[in-house]
């Protein structure tokens, strides 16, 4: 997604990325970034919390108006909950990221990609 943000900026379209993976977005580097410290899946706020979603979006609109150079970022002032164990357990052996059908789908997608890569190089 950050690569798409770069292309849009290069084409003269300002962007703001709403993300939950701070290190990945910052490693790539984007023009504007609103970080929400929530589990992967809800970068705009808690499900069904309309007020929070608007507050998170407003942080991005604020960045669009205020930022004068790249790597402008702000962290949304929300916590997922008192229990922070999800931060430890994500990508752990105890709690595999993809299981069952989701894992099979991922392997299938990877296989297709490898085949496409071979086809592209021929």
């Amino acid at each position: 997604m950050s690569l798409v943000a770069r292309a849009l900026e290069e084409a003269g379209i300002p962007t703001v990325v709403f993300g939950t993976a701070l290190d990945i977005v910052e490693h790539c580097g984007v023009a504007r970034h609103v970080f929400l410290d929530f589990p992967l899946g809800n970068p705009v706020g808690r499900p069904f919390d309309v007020t929070m979603q608007h507050e998170v979006l407003e942080l991005g609109l604020g960045l669009l108006e205020s930022a004068s150079s790249a790597r402008a970022s702000v962290e949304a002032p929300f916590v997922w909950g008192e229990d922070t164990s999800w931060k430890e357990l994500i990508f752990s052996d105890e709690r595999p990221f993809l299981e069952g059908e989701a894992y099979d789908n991922w392997m299938e997608a990877k296989k297709k990609y490898r085949e496409q890569k071979v086809a592209d190089s021929q």
Binding site: M1, S2, L3, V4, A5, R6, A7, L8, E9, E10, A11, I13, P14, T15, V16, V17, F18, G19, A21, D23, I24, V25, H27, C28, G29, A31, F35, D37, F38, P39, L40, G41, N42, P43, V44, G45, P47, F48, Q53, H54, L57, G60, L61, L64, E65, A70, R71, W80, T84, W86, K87, I90, F91, F97, A102, N105, W106, A109, Y113, K117
Partner: protein, 166 residues
């Protein structure tokens, strides 16, 4: 508590699973930046996401109506005025143990954008939203898919893009 170090965590996780070469996340020193050219209240805003949002269909086997999608490579577009209840996500790469993708607006805030336009905070919501499928190839994303998103945004007269990775 500090944020999750996903780069370190995924590298260790997949090494333990027997993958030898760690994924190299994109990394740049120079970051392009375009300032806002006009007030947000006069700007057309597009939503771009990797959340795999699709239009629901009762008729197709896979449950999705692809007639709206205008798929090219890994890029597809969905009209921004499709009713929310017809949208759903098939994305599986999220923290399934902790949260859900039941509320489309929590990762694809299309209703929220329409509300912002109604309120006059932004000028308008662009005619199309854009989705990008994960391509596993940064080269392909940069050389094929990202320019396609740009082309579609330019076609729609987009002034600002909001991006939501999952």
């Amino acid at each position: 508590m500090t944020h999750v170090r996903y780069i370190d965590k995924t590298r260790d996780y997949y090494l333990r699973q027997g993958y030898e070469k760690p994924y190299l996340w994109a990394n740049f020193t120079d970051v392009p930046f375009t300032p806002l050219s006009k007030p947000l209240a006069e700007s057309t805003v597009a939503l771009v996401s990797t959340s795999d949002v699709a239009v629901r269909s009762k008729d197709n086997d896979d449950g999705r109506d692809k007639s709206h999608e205008m798929l090219a490579g890994n890029v597809y577009s969905i009209p921004s005025d499709i009713p929310l209840e017809q949208l759903f996500s098939r994305q599986e790469h999220y923290d399934q143990h902790t949260t859900t993708l039941d509320d489309t607006n929590a990762y694809f805030p299309i209703t929220r954008l329409h509300e912002l336009a109604d309120r006059g905070r932004i000028g308008a919501v662009a005619a199309r939203t854009h989705g990008v499928y994960t391509a596993y190839s940064q080269r392909k994303t940069s050389e094929v898919d990202a320019p396609e998103v740009v082309r579609r945004c330019v076609e729609d007269g987009v002034d600002v893009a909001i991006l939501t990775p999952i």
